[in-house]
Symmetry: C3
Subunit: 109 residues, 3 copies
């Protein structure tokens, strides 16, 4: 068995969870935050049989989309009265970041 941890964009969660459940997979979600953009995202974990890993990854790919997020950056110190054009930087946030871990034992108590 494998334990798949995926970090996804919060706008992709509903269609993704819908697709996983319709295909008979178990899934649990929780709210997280990214370290770089400090924005809310969502992490989900789903325990699946080894031969189902590829199918779950396909479902994640189909339901999660890459986005470009504009991140503004201000100079560290601004003199009063000084005008400044906000330098924005474009950061590409992936569809999903996926970690597959090995499960030693799975049970329902």
């Amino acid at each position: 068995m494998k334990f798949i941890v995926s970090v996804v964009n919060k706008d992709d969660v509903l269609p993704l969870v819908e697709a996983l459940v319709t295909n008979g997979y178990g899934v649990t979600t929780f709210k997280t935050a990214g370290g770089f953009l400090r924005k809310e995202n969502v992490t989900l974990f789903t325990g699946v049989e080894d031969e189902q890993v590829e199918d779950v990854i396909r479902l994640i790919r189909d339901n999660c989309h890459t986005r470009i997020q504009r991140v503004g950056s201000l100079p560290p110190v601004m003199e009063s009265g000084e005008s400044y054009v906000l330098a924005t930087e474009e950061v590409e946030v992936g569809g999903a970041v996926i970690f597959v871990l090995d499960v030693v034992q799975f049970l329902k108590a």
Copy 2:
């Protein structure tokens, strides 16, 4: 060492955490949601020595109870004025869903 991840019903969390702590185990909890029922549940993780896994699983079994949850389902489209007896479906939600993962290194910084 093993890392035990358990998804439990929120009504079972307090007695379970109490039992784990009284038995000297470390435990961390966080709020999660199930993909199927879309209801709040709780996930906990506890790092234990290999020979303690069975004892922790026993404590989880003793403190988590299976429940039947009634889930209503409406037909996809309802004509106005049409009356409808809500078809409810009974879903059995387990006491706890448990994943045991292997820990390569454990330390307190």
Copy 3:
């Protein structure tokens, strides 16, 4: 690749995340609670190459500090009118509790 799960004190999160991101590491955080003190803490996970594990642990050590927390305990039953000096116990809460798990597969979808 390794998946590092660390439970840290909420007052150490910002400097730690800052240090990880400045060093080019990916990190995701979420709110958790400790089983013993029942207080809010924060868990973070960061996926890194095997040879980066030591560096990440060093960053965690540098940014997380041990604290002494005073925990009051009342006797189980108090007679009315009885006065009681709250017995406090000092509990040392570590800088960080770290679990390193093995990653079988990592991908960005």
